[in-house]
């Protein structure tokens, strides 16, 4: 069976439900077992944040078949948007997230519209270039962004639910569950999207842009829509990243982060809905471990990139699926 690509389409089998069970059970209990495999709360939160960013990117990369190497821009803008609210305006975590989303997504729509007339490698190159614009703005605009030193001097605010206050500021585990809750909402939205006509249109463009065009689908417009949606989810992740670090800095907009997000999606398997999350888990953990063990971690990360591209192009999930198919 090569039903890899329709895993996001309406599924009638029981197997994906088992996947869901395992994924959510693992995520819900993560703070309990992270410690035993050498992890820690912040690492678990980091995995979720990058997993969300990679899943957001993957709506574009894996499900619409369009390459972006500049998603760090929307990730970073999400972070700065959240930071601005907490630093300059009000002490409210939900408002911070909303503003992060707004900043990232508006930039995504504007840049997307400017780039959309290009395809292929030039599109990829433009995504990098536009990402770098954001980087340089954050880097140069000292008075607002804090420049190279980053935006600092803010902290995520405890969450006031009316009947009780969740102190996500000081309690790392509680913050993890806060991130997980937002992650859950986002993945539910993504899942619904992919089951909707819009989602099917995106898949149609990935599968065969020419056919899609001659079914009356305006391919450019839908790529733009997909791009915008993808930047939306990536900026949610960015906003959470700022809350995780209590900090926003230009590096979060740098193209190296874009590359990391892309490799996470590819590493896990970009044709699978959950692939990018798995990729993020593997990549973030590996990076964490390797960089503690050797100062030459860059070589190892580079070798991972090369090995994935040359030997596991369909990612871990794609590789497992093919192995089980060939048995």
């Amino acid at each position: 069976m090569s039903a890899t690509t329709i895993s996001a389409a309406p599924s009638r089998t029981a197997k994906p439900k088992l996947h869901l069970l395992i994924i959510w059970a693992a995520l819900l209990t993560a703070p309990a077992w992270m410690g035993y495999i050498g992890g820690y709360d912040a690492l678990a939160s980091r995995i979720l944040v990058f997993g969300l960013a990679a899943m957001g990117l993957n709506l574009l990369l894996g499900f619409t078949g369009v390459m972006s190497f500049g998603h760090a821009a929307y990730f970073g803008l999400g972070a700065y948007g959240a930071g601005f609210v907490l630093r300059y305006w009000v002490h409210s975590t939900p408002l911070a997230i909303l503003c992060g989303i707004l900043l990232g997504t508006v930039a995504g729509v504007v840049f997307g519209a400017l780039m959309m007339r290009r395809t292929g490698m030039y599109f990829a190159m433009l995504t990098i270039a536009f990402g770098q614009i954001c980087y340089y703005v954050a880097y140069s605009w000292n008075s607002v962004t804090g420049g190279y030193d980053g935006l600092r001097g803010f902290q995520r605010a405890p969450l006031d639910l009316g009947f009780t206050v969740l102190n996500i500021r000081d309690n790392g585990v509680l913050f993890y569950y806060f991130v997980l809750a937002i992650f859950a909402v986002c993945t539910a939205l993504m899942g619904l999207l992919l089951r909707s006509p819009l989602g099917r249109t995106m898949i149609a463009i990935r599968e065969n842009p020419r056919r899609a065009r001659f079914l009356g689908i305006n391919v450019e417009r839908h790529i733009l829509i997909s791009f915008a949606i993808s930047t939306f989810f990536t900026s949610v992740a960015g906003a959470l990243y700022a809350l995780l670090n209590n900090f926003a800095d230009p590096t979060s907009l740098y193209y190296v982060i874009s590359g990391n997000i892309v490799i996470m999606a590819v590493m896990g398997g970009m044709l699978n809905f959950w692939g990018p999350l798995l990729g993020a888990a593997i990549f973030v953990t590996l990076q964490d471990y390797i960089s503690s063990m050797t100062v030459n971690w860059m070589s190892w990360i580079g070798i991972i990139f090369v090995a994935i591209v040359l030997f596991f192009p369909s990612g871990v999930l794609g590789f497992l699926r093919r192995r089980s198919a060939s048995k």
Binding site: S2, A3, T4, T5, I6, A9, L192, L193, S196, P197, L198, G199, R200, T201, I203, A204, E207, N208, R210, R211, A212, R213, F214, L215, G216, I217, N218, V219, H222, I225
Partner: protein, 249 residues
């Protein structure tokens, strides 16, 4: 009013003239075949009609409206559907999903992230209707990529039909098919034409199919119109026999 009117279109690629001053009129309900030897410019002519690229000169009208500068996507919205010489489908989706994408696109739902129950029912009805029309109901939930060539072609036609086109353009629907599959697809086209009264323009190599199905035939050679008429007129045309049928014999 004619369904499709093409007035003196020309397409040049650099110094190469692929289509030279060709005129064509297709009436509603007509089944028109376009034949000609390889490299005669048939597919280029098709691509001009469907808006794949703009003509160098000439104009085109769909039901009286000038479509010369209309994009391919918008031509679809105006009622033009096509299939390709090499089947263009979504191979890793099921037939049902393939048709669903077309149906949702035609019903203006493609931008929607959420769908009402009544819309879902309408889409499902349209899918079932197309499955019945193309006799694919039994294979509906199989991946298109796994199907036989003939079924794939039928699925592609089903997608085109799901658009509820005013005019259907088929580029060599029986290309590369065996006897049985050719028969199957030709039967489908005949039903669409005779029973559902579709206006159809098709490019075809198989002369048995052409002479069996077509109301009128146009012959292209080296990008120019050689002859035009009923199957009988074309069969009797000396120039056609010399340039094309003779060469094929």
């Amino acid at each position: 009013m004619s369904m499709l009117e093409v007035r003196g279109v020309t397409k040049k690629f650099g110094s190469l003239v692929a289509v030279n001053d060709v005129t064509l009129t297709v009436e509603p309900g007509e089944l028109r075949a376009i034949i000609g030897p390889n490299g005669a410019g048939k597919t280029t002519f098709f691509n001009l009609i469907t808006g794949f690229f703009p003509p160098t000169a000439g104009r085109m009208f769909l039901e009286g409206r000038d479509i010369t500068n209309v994009t391919a996507t918008d031509r679809v919205a105006m009622g033009m559907a096509r299939t390709f010489q090499i089947t263009e489908i979504f191979p890793e989706l099921t037939i049902r999903e393939n048709i669903r994408i077309a149906a949702e696109s035609a019903m203006g739902l493609r931008m929607k992230a959420w769908m009402s129950g009544s819309d879902t029912a309408r889409v499902n009805d349209r899918i079932d209707e197309m499955l019945v029309a193309t006799r694919l109901t039994a294979q509906a939930d199989r991946l298109v990529g796994e199907l036989s060539h003939g079924d794939q072609r039928s699925a592609e036609i089903a997608m085109a039909l799901a658009l509820r086109p005013r005019i259907l353009l088929l580029d060599e629907p029986t290309a590369g098919m065996g006897e049985q599959e050719t028969f199957q697809v030709a039967g489908l086209i005949r039903r669409l034409h005779r029973h559902a009264n579709y206006t159809i323009v098709l490019i075809e190599h198989d002369m048995r199919v052409v002479f069996n199905l077509a109301d009128r035939i146009m012959v292209l050679t080296e990008g120019t119109l050689l002859a035009e008429g009923t199957p009988q007129q074309i069969a009797d045309n000396a120039a056609v026999q010399a340039a094309y049928l003779g060469a094929a014999a």
